[in-house]
Amino acid sequence: MSKRIIGGLGLLLGAGLYTGSVLAVGPGDPDRGQTAAATCTACHQADGSGKNVPGGESWPRLAGLDAGYIEKQLHDFQAGRRQNATMMPFANMLNDQQIVDVAAYYSQMEVTSAGGGESASDALLNRGEQIANRGDWDKYIVSCKSCHGPGGKGVGSDFPGIASQHAGYIRTQLHAWKDGERSNDPQDLMGAIAKRMSDDDIEAVAAWYASQTVSAEGEE
């Protein structure tokens, strides 16, 4: 899977669209990544847990995300394929080697617990679970699990883990796809689904995934 991503990047580099370092990129080094991530902790926290910010912009958990997925997102921010005023300046600070290094650093961290699902009602969580694990085919909402994998723990580099991600973040991303503001997903795979979801569906599935735990520890 990551072969394709690297191939895509090669194309970009060749076309001169990307202005960062063109030096050969070595394998990711978590120690160097930790150094490069010094500025990131203000929002994503030292343990990579991010933060659910009710009423504001939530900072996603990066801990335990797939390295290839993190790299793609950082390149997408740099190239403007993914837009976010808060995050873009920080992505732009990184060169290609640092991107690989911070990706290695965050990907090997323990998945942390997420906020935003604590006060959800049972009815909301049940609806969320239904969408996550079985979908709602009458509205052609395919189950999240069929792409994000069993338990929403992620599949390879293309389908990120969404279980134990902050509800506020999941919600804004789904709305961003629905409103056409995020469109950096391969083949519009995510956008096609998000556009069929109601606000209530988004609320429900965000709360449900936020209240799932991925590792043995990380209980709320």
């Binding site: 709602d136 395919v142 792409c147 994998g149």
Partner: protein, 350 residues
């Protein structure tokens, strides 16, 4: 784009359904779905609208089962059937010898129109079946998908697992008339019109661009930490050469109406047929009816089945003769599906 035309069609649909009088709707509407015009969402997505005189049935959901007036023991068995249908991998090594669940091909838990919803079998069987040239009942139809699509061997007729699966099929048919006179809306995998020429090379391009991200470049699908995610389209993890989906038109119908996942009807008819052609010209486990000779197979089953598949064809680009092998996949030589080739009703008078 074509929105305006579609909503126009819808108005007509509403009227014709009312006139047809064969609508059965079981699923509880969840506020946004209007129960009076079933499958309106699908029609808006571009699926054909129900036509006057068609049987339009909306199967009940598992949530409806909780409220249904059925014996609690029956509810348990239906739930077991649902569980087997959507997680058939629990029978891996016993009845299933590939990477599939029933719901890998029958999307939406077997309820979805244009994804071969399974309830029609419960109201049209027993009936004659061309594939095996005799009258089949529901259990025998289910057994067929085990022997071919799951590259396995079915649970015994009347066994707990078989009973549970057939109870689930019947539950989905709740309220639909038995032996209906009308054609059934959304049955099977209806193929789009066949284009003049099919291209393996174009199919391969479509495959790499639109399918490989999930099914992988080599068609082997993807398991994450040993758990099912994306099923195999060919190779040992897939269905064998006797499965319905190896027929090019069935594959094209499946793909056009269901793939890429979440984006049905997004491929052109040409793309759907090309990628189906590409996919069905890859190797997979042998047809369990094979007796050592591809030519014998073509003689016996060509007229009823394999004239629609690439079985025994020689591939242009590498001179490979398809299915000319004795690879049975994971089930090996020991496991022989007990239901294949069993004659029925041979002594009946005309």
């Amino acid at each position: 784009m074509i929105m305006r035309k579609k909503s126009l069609a819808l108005a007509v649909v509403g009227a014709s359904i009312a006139a047809a009088g064969v609508v059965t709707a079981n699923a509880q509407s969840d506020g946004e779905q209007n129960a009076e015009t079933p499958y309106q969402n699908l029609v808006e997505m571009g699926y054909p609208a129900p036509q006057e005189g068609q049987l339009v049935h909306v199967p009940p959901t598992m949530a409806d089962l909780e409220d249904a007036d059925l014996h609690p023991e029956l509810k348990k068995v239906i739930r077991r059937g649902y569980d087997l249908f959507t997680n058939t991998q629990q029978l891996r090594g016993k009845n299933v010898f590939n990477d599939m669940n029933c719901s890998s091909c029958h999307l939406g838990e077997g309820r979805q129109p244009f994804s071969a919803p399974v309830w029609p079998a419960a109201i049209t069987l027993p009936n004659f079946r061309g594939k095996n040239q005799h009258v089949n009942n529901l259990e025998e139809r289910i057994a067929g998908c085990f022997a071919y699509s799951m590259n396995g061997t079915p649970p015994e007729y009347g066994s707990d697992d078989m009973l549970a699966l057939s109870a689930y099929h019947r539950w989905l048919a709740k309220g639909a008339p038995v032996y209906p006179d009308q054609p059934i809306y959304g049955r099977g995998f209806p193929p789009p019109d066949r284009p003049e020429a099919l291209s393996y090379a174009r199919g391969e391009t479509v495959y790499q661009e639109q399918c490989a991200i999930c099914h992988q470049e080599d068609g082997s699908g993807h398991y994450e930490d040993g758990e099912y995610v994306f099923p195999a389209l060919w190779g040992d993890g897939s269905n064998n050469w006797g499965a319905g989906i190896v027929r090019t038109h069935t594959a094209a119908g499946f793909i056009k109406n269901n793939m890429p996942l979440g984006q049905p009807l997004s491929l052109s008819d040409q793309e759907a047929w090309d990628v189906a052609y590409y996919m069905t010209r890859q190797e997979r486990p042998q047809d369990p009816r094979y007796d050592g000779s591809v030519d014998d197979m073509l003689e016996k089953f060509g007229p009823t089945f394999h004239k629609h598949s690439s079985y025994g064809d020689v591939r242009e680009h590498d001179d490979h003769r398809l299915a000319d092998h004795a690879n049975w996949g994971e089930k090996g030589e020991e496991v022989i599906p007990w239901n294949v080739g069993v004659p029925r009703f041979e002594d009946l008078e005309d």
